[in-house]
Symmetry: C2
Subunit: 418 residues, 2 copies
């Protein structure tokens, strides 16, 4: 095995890069105005697929989240996903569940399939009923337009945008005994981003042959260090969903009998999810910076994660980043209130290069004592659009890496109303 | 007992309203420029005082916090508090402890007192050593200027400001068998406000006679529902401190033998702390609204508090308040990710009048179902500078009330640099 046995590319057509998958996007006016903005996407595989999903841990789950959880439990074979943007179908009571089921029915009908073979997602404003007449028209239109062309893949990726400014698409490929296995995905993010066990919306397709149990295992592992390690505003959505469909078209069978192949697809899938997560965080609402927060030496991984999240979500830390201000005192303050029992006199803190732990970082604190002579170095690092914070607690072996963003005045203005 | 057996007034002289207490403020240039800005306060009682304190729960505690905790454990008699603004003396290693001790020594010397009789507080930027020569001059100046005049009380209250725009002073008085008992306080707040077991800085004086154990009990109870129930930005400071000094000058002795008197002073102290807390939250950095969040019907008080804090600290909720937007979906989202196990279909949500639970609120959700016909009523409530959110989970008897603020674009710009 070489170091990089798979290729990975961002900004691709996404889903339609995978043999056997089709997609389409339509503009049906879910937000109200019939302004031509794409707001409904359909993903379809004529081959039956195995599927896996991870979802928001929020107690308040949108209707489509509850529907998907139910369908993944009771059903075994899936053919696609129907997604709308502009309306979350969350906090919509029993009517919301009826509408989500109706979306599945409408999406399955043209193919003579049962409703439970279609998964359903929604994203947008909470608490408003879906305009089902418009949704129905959009489903009708997309099911007629479906194709495996790049253009339709891109349209589907556009149709799931809310406040996203770029499409998040990634394609990974690897070879196995002369066959090519493809994984490709489209995702959306931008606001209400602090996923936990899931992200906003990400849809991944592959032509590998993988059974349901293994598919779920691969997905959970990939999500853990990617979508679950980003935060823009600390808000976990009601709709966070990652779905993975495998249609088996490559005829490369992934099973426990072949650990090398499992490792290969796991690495490709994890890299693909990390790329999507970085694209989501990098397109956070009105942000100007992405910061990699590396916590080391905590008593446990769990405590390291607590410290990372406290730093990543501190308003005072995030606003200082927006101002290119190496106000490391706010980092220490946030780390201190995480409740991880850290000992100030053991702490090493430094600023480094984004996603490059080999380059020597600029020290801020050593054993809890400030090194103000390095101030110019701190300033230089935090002035960059991407940088790294290393916080070593020197207590144990717990680690966590998290990606966060600054918060700008523009973020606040942007979110004053929907 | 009447309903309101004590008087309470805000915007007073503060500390010097209490017989036997003196105060002064000086401008000694701790921030750097000698611009005449008051930055050092001294509170002094010639009578020996009993004292109680509650402090930040942050693992990273400023040097003066650690010094006070030590002194309150080992020492029994106190004569005053010396406070500087402009520098937190936090994350300053062993030098910070030396400087805090030196502040106590310098403040005690002019009165021939031992250093351990003076408590010490600092507030301001983290990670910079105190300019001790300037601090020394300020202490010298204030100890010479001390008086019980209103003017000097007001100067002391001004000297502890950081980004505060108004002084927070409150005075409460009650009668007991012909004697008057006074409690008075000064506090500072503004940013890095989500106290837990303490607030930013609050100094309370009383001329009641109270032993140490009871004094602490009274203070902890008062802090629980006041300073520990406010949040501006969700950041808990390294320096949060509430100190209470009792000099006994009124000769009204408070003891367990007289429960009625204990109830009286507890009510007065709790009301005083709540007023200070409301003044702190109302003067939050660049805020435009204060919102009272009332959670009822949780499985436990602890779970109610979790939900209240999730709502109170959600960036998306806070930005929607800044925009007068009744975006209650964001409230539900935040409540849902608090991890309190809430059941969507049981939830009642309404907007009401600030600190007035008797006036009928405007319903938003009943049993989890939106009532969009009330939309104009929601809009009217959230457009006010003060309003109330009632979230009834209908699961149990857990309750929590918390005061929060909006977050504005001005907050972000204000905090981009120190």
């Amino acid at each position: 095995m070489t170091d990089n046995p798979f290729t990975i590319e961002t900004g691709t057509a996404g889903i339609t890069d995978v043999p056997g998958f089709e997609a389409a996007g339509a503009a049906c006016g879910i937000r109200g105005p019939l302004d031509g903005r794409l707001d409904l996407a359909l993903i379809y595989s004529p081959h039956a697929c195995n599927a896996a999903g991870v979802f928001t841990q929020n107690d308040v789950k949108a209707a489509p989240v509850r529907l998907n959880q139910e369908q993944l439990k009771t059903n075994k074979v899936f053919h696609g996903i129907v997604v709308n943007s502009g309306n979350a179908n969350a906090c919509t009571g029993p009517q919301g569940m009826t509408d989500a089921r109706e979306m599945a029915t409408l999406a399955a009908e043209p193919f003579g399939l049962p409703p439970e073979s279609m998964l359903v997602c929604s994203t947008g404003i909470i608490g408003i009923f879906l305009p089902m007449d418009r949704v129905a028209k959009g489903i009708e239109e997309t099911s007629a337009k479906l194709s495996s062309s790049s253009e339709d893949g891109e349209k589907a990726a556009l149709a799931i945008h809310t406040s996203d400014t770029i499409s998040k698409t990634v394609t990974a490929r690897f070879q196995w005994k002369g066959d090519t296995v493809t994984l490709a995905a489209m995702a959306k993010g931008a606001g209400m981003i602090q996923p936990n066990m899931a992200t906003m919306l990400a849809f991944i397709a592959t032509d590998a042959q993988v059974d349901r149990t293994l598919l779920r295992k691969l997905l959970v592992e990939a999500v853990r260090e990617s979508f679950n390690r980003i935060t823009v505003d600390g808000d976990m959505s009601t709709n966070d969903t990652v779905l993975l469909l495998a249609n088996g078209a490559s005829e490369v069978k992934i099973s426990n009998k072949n650990p090398e192949l499992i490792e290969l697809i796991q690495n490709a899938l994890s890299a693909l999810c990390l790329q999507l997560a970085l694209m989501i965080v990098g397109d956070g609402e009105k942000i100007s910076k992405v910061v990699e927060i590396c916590i080391d030496g905590a008593h446990s991984h769990r405590k390291a994660e607590k410290v990372a999240r406290a730093v990543a979500n501190s308003l005072l830390v995030k606003t200082s980043w927006a101002g290119n201000d190496p106000n490391w005192g706010r980092i220490m303050d946030a780390a201190g209130y995480a409740g991880a029992g850290l000992e100030e006199e053991k702490i090493d803190l430094s600023y480094g290069e984004f996603m490059d732990r080999n380059k020597k970082p600029v020290a801020v604190l050593e054993n809890g004592i400030p090194l103000p002579t390095n101030k110019n170095g701190w300033l230089e690092q935090v002035s960059r659009p991407r940088f790294q914070i290393n916080l070593h607690l020197n207590q144990g072996k717990g680690r966590c890496r998290l990606f966060s963003t600054d918060i700008t005045d523009k973020y606040v203005n942007f979110n004053k109303t929907d």
